[in-house]
Amino acid sequence: MTIRQLSVFLENKTGYLNEMLAQLAKYNINIIALTVADTSEYGIVRMIVSDPEKALDILREGQFTVRMHDILSLEMDAAPGSLSKILNLFTEADICIEYVYAFSFGSKSIVVFRTNNRDKAIEIINENKLKSIREADLK
């Protein structure tokens, strides 16, 4: 139920995000999902990509500051209220969502997120038989 996410530290400079993306494009890495958490001086770009290992090497080679982390990932029903239903389960268990983003892949609706209590979140997922997503599902 986890997939690997790349986090890249980027200072706020015009064209800098694109410079990073161009590197990935050059080596044929597909970006499946991307979101930016930003401050006035810098941002963290979070990405799900087609080949995380390779992307990590490419970015390091290009002098970018990058780390790889596992994050929780679930498939949602493509229907109104489905994300809220999932988050309700966490709220009831007093688990805080630190960040979340959603995207679709083929016909699948996918949500990825970080919580303040990973073990407990996994318990909830298992108990409620939520449908998890593995990297193999994103090929």
Binding site: Q5, S7, T39, E41, Y42, I44, Q63, T65, R67
Partner: protein, 423 residues
């Protein structure tokens, strides 16, 4: 005082001083022995160049009281230099030292036209810093009505200045400018104030700044120079002709030396300003190198004073910064970063002046291993560094994380500071 008489007095005091430190301060006995110079070798003022120099590091190495020349029972006051690497530098004063200090500050204030008719607001910080108490004792000696309000609390400064009718102000030039600009915001105008003179010091300032302060406050502004190692404020002061600061050379003997060779330079040439404390008892210093850059002039001033004049400080021969009156060496920043070990030690310090107050921003390279996927972790890291810096140097610093390897590396002496003040 005629020059010859002054020289005779200085020579006599120098000989007495050298004897005293040789016999009472093991550090100086050792230094003089190493240099092969005995107290009896000092016969004329020119012989001073045979004596060893003293540096700030010597005070740190002998922290806290190692350079004191009298027993602690004779020390009536201790001050500390603001912000230094690790250990502060401490100085001690005997009763006589305090009297002499009050005397030179009183002379300085008199040069600024301040008299017993004046109400002086002392807005320098009171405490270990010599500014507050130094100005305080001098003002009392003159006979001023002293308002020991200390630094900060701008609203109250302005309120008391208006209510009490302060006629003289002692503080840092940047704070004086800040107070002037804050008047409108707090509902005051120049017509509410009775200020006529300002005595500003503890940080270098330009002639333009003086003109601006005089215009904004409608006062005469004067420069007071000093450093805790030598005494505190009152080592020198400018008169109404503003053609350099008159050094109270009967107490503090000045020399200018070449920053490279350390050889004495003649009058009119710029170099490092060195002082020997001719009368100080608590912590007398031989040839203390201030690392301030200045020039000496001995022609008689238009005001009639014959005291040697030193040019307004133009800069420093080392990398020490003076931020809001606090001494700061870039190495202190490095020390904190290395001690924390959370980032690389590659940094650049940006000094600026916003609303007339000095600001510090530190850009420091993020260590990749500290990168997580949440902004909060990075913000916590910045705050942790800010907190550590604040407790180590006593100044607030804005910390900005930047990418690794983006701060320029230099092969020789690293450039660590970009000072955008006075631009």
């Amino acid at each position: 005082m005629p020059r010859e008489k002054m020289r005779a007095l200085q020579t006599e005091r120098l000989k007495e001083l050298v004897n005293r430190v040789y016999n009472n301060v093991s550090f100086y006995r050792q230094r003089m022995d190493e240099a092969g110079v005995k107290p009896s070798d000092i016969k004329t003022l020119e012989d001073i160049s045979k004596l060893p120099f003293t540096h700030k590091q010597d005070l740190r190495d002998n922290y806290p009281f190692g350079l004191f020349a009298v027993p602690m029972k004779d020390i009536v006051r201790v001050h500390g230099s603001s912000g230094t690497t690790g250990k502060p530098t401490t100085v001690g004063y005997t009763k006589n030292d305090i009297d002499n200090w009050s005397e030179v500050v009183a002379r300085s204030f008199t040069m600024a036209g301040i008299s017993s008719d004046d109400i002086m607001q002392v807005s320098y910080g009171y405490g270990l810093f010599t500014g507050g108490l130094g100005a305080h004792y001098g003002a009392e000696k003159v006979g001023c009505s002293v308002i020991p309000i200390s630094g900060g609390n701008t609203r109250r400064q302005l309120q008391l200045m208006a209510d009490f009718g302060s006629t003289a102000l002692a503080c840092t030039p940047s704070y004086a400018l800040h107070l002037a600009d804050a008047m409108a915001e707090h509902g005051y105008s120049l017509s509410d104030m009775k200020l006529k003179a300002g005595v500003f010091g503890a940080e270098p300032w330009t002639e333009n700044m003086r003109k601006e302060l005089e215009r904004k406050w409608g006062i005469k502004a004067f420069d007071i120079y000093g450093l805790s190692e030598i005494m505190g404020p009152g080592v020198s002061h400018d008169c109404e002709y503003h053609c350099g600061l008159h050094v109270h050379e009967d107490h503090f003997f000045p020399e200018i030396v070449d920053p490279e060779t350390k050889e004495p330079l003649p009058d009119g040439q710029e170099g490092e300003l060195v002082f020997t404390t001719l009368t100080k008892e608590g912590i007398p210093l031989l040839r203390y190198n201030t690392r301030d850059l200045s020039t000496l002039y001995r022609e008689k001033c238009e005001c009639g004073r014959t005291l040697v004049r030193m040019k307004k400080i133009t800069g420093r021969s080392d990398d020490m910064l003076i931020i809001r009156g606090v001494n700061l060496f870039p190495s202190q920043i490095e020390h904190v970063l290395l001690e924390l070990g959370e980032t690389s030690a590659h940094y650049m310090l940006y000094v600026d002046r916003k609303n007339n107050l000095d600001t510090l921003e530190l850009k420091v390279e993020l260590d990749e291993s500290k990168l997580t996927d949440t902004i909060r972790d990075l913000q916590n890291l910045s705050r942790k560094i800010e907190h550590a810096l604040n407790s180590a140097i006593g100044l607030s610093v804005k910390v900005t994380l930047v990418e690794p390897k983006t701060i320029a590396r230099s092969e020789g002496k690293a450039k660590r500071v970009i000072d955008n003040r006075n631009k």
